[in-house]
């Protein structure tokens, strides 16, 4: 590539932890910067850019203003990458979608609720075309590097479709269920190298559901390990409310 691709980074509704995670690339940050020019990044620098090749976008869309801004980003970017659970599938924000929107507004803003227009928390892909995803909460660093090097090489990044269980098994982790915990790994997309189960935690599902998940089957698993039906679906909804909503009967 003759000129370095210009990269811009944007945030919508989210905690900005994904961007922080980008700044945490201590060992690789210089290598990353050798391949691209960062032209806009509110969290790390001043200034605006009118043109860029790759936009990394964090956060879900939850206000009319968000919708307008994401269209603007899409128009200017050749490639748009959704960064993290909020941007990819709505993330934790989307839990609010399981409640009536007026109740949500009142809970958050009280009597000022009419001053703050709000929408259900949506993934970027429900409004604009998203080219690639970096999943996770915060976004998975190893996956970011894969997507990044793919873009530098001009090849399409491949999104893993298999479950987190695969990565646990490759590492010969003791199954989280064997440790007496409840894990969503069987229906959650891999790509994080089973980060949480590998350090004694359980999978909360931040990377989104595998394609065509058998959620009734997963409900049965969770219930057989001690959750109530309602608790089971609440667990699944934590990061994946938008996808789970349609399935639960």
């Amino acid at each position: 590539m003759a000129d370095k691709p210009r990269v811009a980074i944007f945030d919508f509704t989210g905690c900005e932890g994904c961007e922080l995670n980008q700044l945490n690339f201590e060992d690789q940050l210089l290598d990353i910067l050798a391949h691209v020019d960062i032209v806009e990044w509110r969290e790390a620098m001043d200034g605006h850019a009118d043109e860029y090749d790759i936009a990394f976008v964090e956060g879900s869309l939850s206000t009319p203003d968000c919708i307008q801004r994401i269209h603007e980003v899409r128009r200017k970017a050749k490639v748009l990458v959704a960064l993290g659970a909020c941007a990819v599938q709505g993330g934790v924000n989307a839990v609010k979608n399981t409640h009536p929107i007026d109740e949500v507004r009142e809970e958050v803003y009280g009597q000022d609720k009419y001053l703050f227009p709000t929408l259900p928390a949506l993934p970027l892909s429900s409004v604009v075309k998203v080219d690639y995803n970096v999943r996770g909460c915060p976004m998975t660093q190893i996956e970011f590097l894969k997507v990044f090097t793919s873009l530098v090489m001009g090849k399409e990044p491949v999104e893993p479709e298999h479950s987190v269980c695969v990565e646990c098994k490759l590492k010969e982790n003791e199954c989280v269920f064997e440790r007496g915990m409840i894990c969503l790994g069987p229906v959650i997309r891999a790509g994080c190298d089973a980060q949480c189960p590998s350090v004694g935690q359980y999978c909360t599902g931040c990377r989104g559901l595998v394609p065509e998940p058998n959620l009734e089957g997963m409900e049965e698993i969770l219930v057989s390990h001690g959750l109530s039906v309602d608790e089971a679906w609440k667990r699944l909804e934590l990061y994946n409310a938008n996808e789970v909503e349609g399935v639960r009967s």
Partner: protein, 340 residues
Amino acid sequence: MVQLFLESDRVAELVAHLMKQKSVFAPHAKGRKSFAFEEVKDPSAAVLDYPRVMHSIRKFFFPPQETLMTFDLKENTCSVAETPAADAIFFGVHSYDLGAVHRLDYNFSEGNPEKNYIARRQGAVFVGVSYKPDEFHFSGSVGIDPYDTAGFDIFLTKLLDGYIVEALTPVGEGLLDGIELPAHEAGKPARGHFQQHIYLPQAKLGQVMDGSYQNEVWDDTAKKCVGCGTCNLVCPTCYCFTVEDEVNVQVTGGSRDRRWDGCMLRDFSAVAGGEVFRETLAERQRHRVFRKFKYISDETGQPWCVGCGRCTACCTAGISIVNIINRLVGDYEKVAVTPI
């Protein structure tokens, strides 16, 4: 065959004796209630009394993740990765896991013999140990007894207070040189008692499978199955893999790596363009079971399942391969006795 006796509290001494001759790999306690085969550093950490290890010793010959070659993107060249011989003692192996290694030996030898596996497999010495079948083992139904010494260099048979030690090959005899063990006079214990059984002699399973392609058990199983792939990945006779290129952050080079893959995963049979050839979980469950009891079995006359019980023990959905087979057996017998 000379039978020697090893007191339970001398096991570490035997391990230490073996370690003087070659690296020793043995089961170690891992996590809350699991066991894993690892290289022995402390002889007293080796465990002989365990139900099953998470991964069988296939992981030393066919690693979960392995670099096939490294490449240089600037020069556009590649060089093949080293595949060193195991050259080690595998201590405390259960008979079904060695049976699984023999099956993989076949898979990686027939057709196009694969150097990666075959090279790694060299110099492996096997010390077996008998085990008490738990609620998942069913090796007896596929012709592998807990006391089956076939293929082992040394075999340890569990007694109440220790082990009968038998050297079965010249290599095994050599390894026992220099450790003083008394002779074992009394006989061997009775055959292992299994809690799990396939309700049909092994020789007839082929016929059962022939008629089970359209059985309802596949759809019924698919309702519970979430397609996580665990049953494939823990199976000691599974050897499917996928290959991917990894590139370094500098984008100057990388490696072509393979990792274990499984036919229960949806993308396993997807081709470029999006077509998935085994779209449903029912089709995938059937394929998995047919791989274990029909396809290679028709070719070799042996079940490709060794009855270790891992796929059942590890299935969070509680799917039992023995129950699947027994349902097929039940339907087969119904048809067999129903006059047409």
